[in-house]
């Protein structure tokens, strides 16, 4: 009798578990084609969460219009790059995803060679963003749109202080100091003082680079220490806005009048335009010494996972959307957020990019932009960013800090070029 009671319990538990398992079985997240039409293999496509209204509906619309495969779009909020990195290790990851892709993903054979997809139109892709998708002559991601960053400034505040828009780093330092008052700070480079947002930008403005063409450290030069030292002056002068509720990628601090100048992205332009009208201008990061002004650009690339069960179908879909589908590409770049199309021909057609600050942004991008090289891996980035942090905020000696970074980055470059 006792046993029967226990048996009952065990049986109940077993059925419960069974039900739970079968429930799992019916929802694997794969292949139940919501947002897909047509026939053919089931493909998963991943995007990171774009902040702008309508982007998600747009990418779902593109996917639904494809008739050679059933494409399901996953819109992934949170730490997107970490999610894709982890998902690429498993079989349940995406078939098509937007990603850098990183050098280690390429070297590890996690993504598929897409060189043949852009044959014939290769020259139409902006070379600045195509280069970081290229490894040993092969292309591993199709650039989707170009994101760029630049300096926004309030014309009225500069005029009131009788300051011209700065054209050199020294002028920027002086302007930031002159614009700082009890209520308003001169410049906002991010809550960490600029190490994260600026990255390699000051080096390029000084005529240096992160990694040379030959794959060596590009900033083993006294000029690098000189330039980075000037960033510390901004901090020491108390001209920098620090600890703002929203970080540099959001124009809130600039719009709320917490700062007279802010480093942020092209994506913020529509919002700034709406709130400030004509009372703002944009600048590239000013030159230092014998360098030239510069803006950083970047692009997510559409990539195909090597673990995909339908690699050819996935490649065909990428070609359909990101190579042949120029109408959708233009819509994606310009209708929601504000990006520059990765295709030169499309950027030229875009009416929105022909006037005002947007036209300036396009000019900066064509004249003097840089993208982080593929060889500039996360380990190098961390070492460099730590050092710049210490230089800016602790006033650490730029020479000493850079020596350590150069050593670490050389080791990392050796590793990835073995």
């Amino acid at each position: 009798m006792t046993v029967s009671r226990r048996m009952l319990l065990a049986a109940g538990a077993a059925t419960g578990a069974g039900a739970a398992l079968s429930a799992c079985g019916s929802n694997t997240g794969r292949g139940d084609g919501s947002g897909s039409a047509g026939k053919g293999p089931a493909l998963q496509q991943w995007y990171h969460q774009y902040g702008e209204q309508g982007t998600e509906q747009a990418v779902q619309r593109y996917a639904a219009a494809y008739d050679k495969a059933r494409v399901t779009v996953q819109w992934r909020p949170g730490n997107y790059d970490q999610q894709t990195a982890a998902a690429l290790l498993t079989d349940s990851g995406p078939d098509v995803f937007e990603g850098s892709p990183t050098l280690d993903q390429i070297r590890g054979g996690q993504v598929v060679d897409l060189t043949d997809l852009i044959e014939g139109v290769k020259d139409d892709f902006n070379p600045a963003v195509l280069a970081p998708k290229t490894y040993r002559g092969r292309i591993w991601g199709i650039p989707q749109v170009i994101d760029m960053q630049m300096l926004f400034y309030r014309k009225s505040l500069l005029a009131k202080a009788h300051i011209d828009p700065p054209t050199t780093l020294d002028e920027l330092v002086d302007a930031a100091k002159a614009l700082t008052s009890k209520q308003v700070k001169g410049l906002f480079l991010g809550n960490d003082g600029g190490a994260g947002a600026l990255g390699g930008t000051p080096l390029y403005a000084a005529g240096l680079e992160l990694v040379t063409e030959g794959g060596k450290v590009g900033f083993d030069d006294p000029a690098a220490a000189r330039t980075l030292g000037k960033l510390h002056r901004l901090y020491a002068d108390k001209s920098l806005l620090l600890g703002a509720p929203a970080d540099w990628s959001d124009p809130s601090a600039f719009l709320q009048g917490l700062t007279a100048m802010q480093w942020t992205g092209l994506w913020a332009l529509p919002q700034v335009q709406k709130e400030l009208g004509d009372d703002f201008g944009v600048l590239p990061f000013p030159k230092d010494g014998s360098g030239a002004p510069t803006v950083p650009v970047g692009a997510y690339g559409a990539a195909v996972s090597a673990r995909s069960k339908h690699k050819d179908a996935a490649k065909a879909f990428v070609k359909w959307l990101w190579v042949d589908g120029t109408a959708d590409q233009k819509d994606f770049a310009l209708s929601y957020g504000f990006h520059i199309p990765a295709r030169i021909s499309l950027a030229k057609q875009a009416r929105q990019l022909r006037e005002g600050a947007a036209a300036d942004a396009v000019r900066f991008t064509t004249e003097h932009s840089f993208a982080e090289p593929l060889l500039w891996t996360q380990a190098s980035k961390t070492a460099y960013q730590d050092a710049v942090n210490r230089i800016i905020r602790d006033g650490a000696s730029p020479d000493g800090q850079l020596r350590t970074v150069v050593r670490k980055v050389s080791a990392e470059l050796d590793r990835v070029q073995r």
Partner: protein
């Protein structure tokens, strides 16, 4: 169900064995065997799921991590490039990692005594209340129900943000002080104020409850005897009666505090990290390893080596602490 069962354990073990000889005297060996088999079956039914979970989610990953730590495992969990102790030597030579250990030691050395003292003080005060004790107990305990992430975000964005309308800066502004960027200033290191206060606010109430329980277990007879012997109320009574009587509670509280400090991640990560990473200060080892192994770097071998080193340190400290406190020794 017919059998009377006053006490389930006796029913399971002794009751059954007592019943067996009475029922089948001819085959005495079998029922015992069957019983043992059944017991084993039931043992596994009850313990199995837990053991399975522990194995799958704790021991296998643990062993796998140790395995990975001997390989060059970039972006892979099935590496093939064996490098022996390479990850360990470079991790121990990595200034960022050793620096994070120092950071952590300093944090631990401060937060453990600070929380201990604060929660003990709160418990002593609340315990003396004649009225509204339940109210104050709840008030101090409530923060323990708040999540670290939420608290960290409130601290970061509304109390200690760096602009003039942040709570702390507003208050300081009344006295004419300049605005301070609490989390971005490295000299003086104001970020520690933010990190430490959020943890104190979250933790102190919980440990206060433990101390209150301990205080209420102390027999009033001891205090009466002390009063008869002429002990002055206040410090003398606390020093010679209350504090020694709280020994068991104190040991438990300190152990829990140290373990909690080892696990520090949430408030650090949420207070100081941004989209581009984490600054090179106030970076505890877990945060550093998180960025190394699970961030974009995906250097799983290197991160695993760091995790193993950290686990060894934690093991040594915990064992040492248990020895020192005489944990598990019978109280006299």
């Amino acid at each position: 169900m017919k059998r009377s069962a006053p006490d389930p354990p006796t029913d399971l073990l002794t009751g059954r064995e007592a019943a067996a000889p009475a029922g089948s005297r001819r085959r005495p060996a079998l029922p015992a065997l069957r019983t043992r088999g059944r017991d084993a079956l039931w043992f596994w039914i009850f313990v199995g799921p837990f053991a399975l979970g522990l194995g799958v989610f704790t021991y296998i990953p643990l062993a796998w991590s140790v395995y990975l730590s001997f390989f060059d495992a970039h972006n892979t969990v099935t590496p093939d490039h064996f490098i022996g102790l390479g990850n360990y030597t470079s991790m121990l030579r990595d200034g960022a990692f050793t620096g994070s250990l120092t950071t952590f030691a300093a944090f631990c050395a401060f937060i453990v005594p600070a929380t201990y003292l604060l929660s003990l003080a709160l418990a002593l005060m609340v315990n003396r209340l004649r009225r509204a004790q339940a109210f104050f107990r709840s008030v101090f305990f409530l923060p323990a129900a708040c999540s670290y992430v939420v608290a960290a975000l409130i601290w970061k964005m509304s109390i200690f943000n760096g602009v003039r309308f942040g709570l702390a800066n507003t208050v300081l502004g009344w006295f004419g002080a300049d605005q301070t960027a609490w989390l971005s200033t490295t000299s003086p290191p104001w970020y520690w104020l933010v990190i430490v206060t959020v943890r104190l606010w979250l933790q102190a109430g919980f440990y206060m409850i433990l101390f209150l329980a301990g205080l209420q277990r102390i027999s009033p007879v001891l205090y009466e005897a002390a009063a008869v012997d002429g002990a002055r109320p206040g410090w003398q009574v606390f020093r010679h009666i209350t504090f020694p009587q709280l020994r068991a509670t104190s040991v438990a509280v300190v152990l829990l505090l140290v373990i909690n400090a080892f696990q520090a991640f949430d408030e650090f990560y949420n207070l100081l990290s941004d989209a581009r990473g984490y600054p090179p200060y106030a970076r505890p080892p877990l945060v550093y390893l998180y960025f190394t192994a699970l961030g974009q770097e995906q250097n799983l071998g290197y991160g695993s080596a760091g995790a193993v080193i950290l686990a060894l340190i934690i093991a040594v400290v915990t064992v040492g602490q248990a020895r020192w406190f005489g944990l598990g020794r019978k109280e006299d």
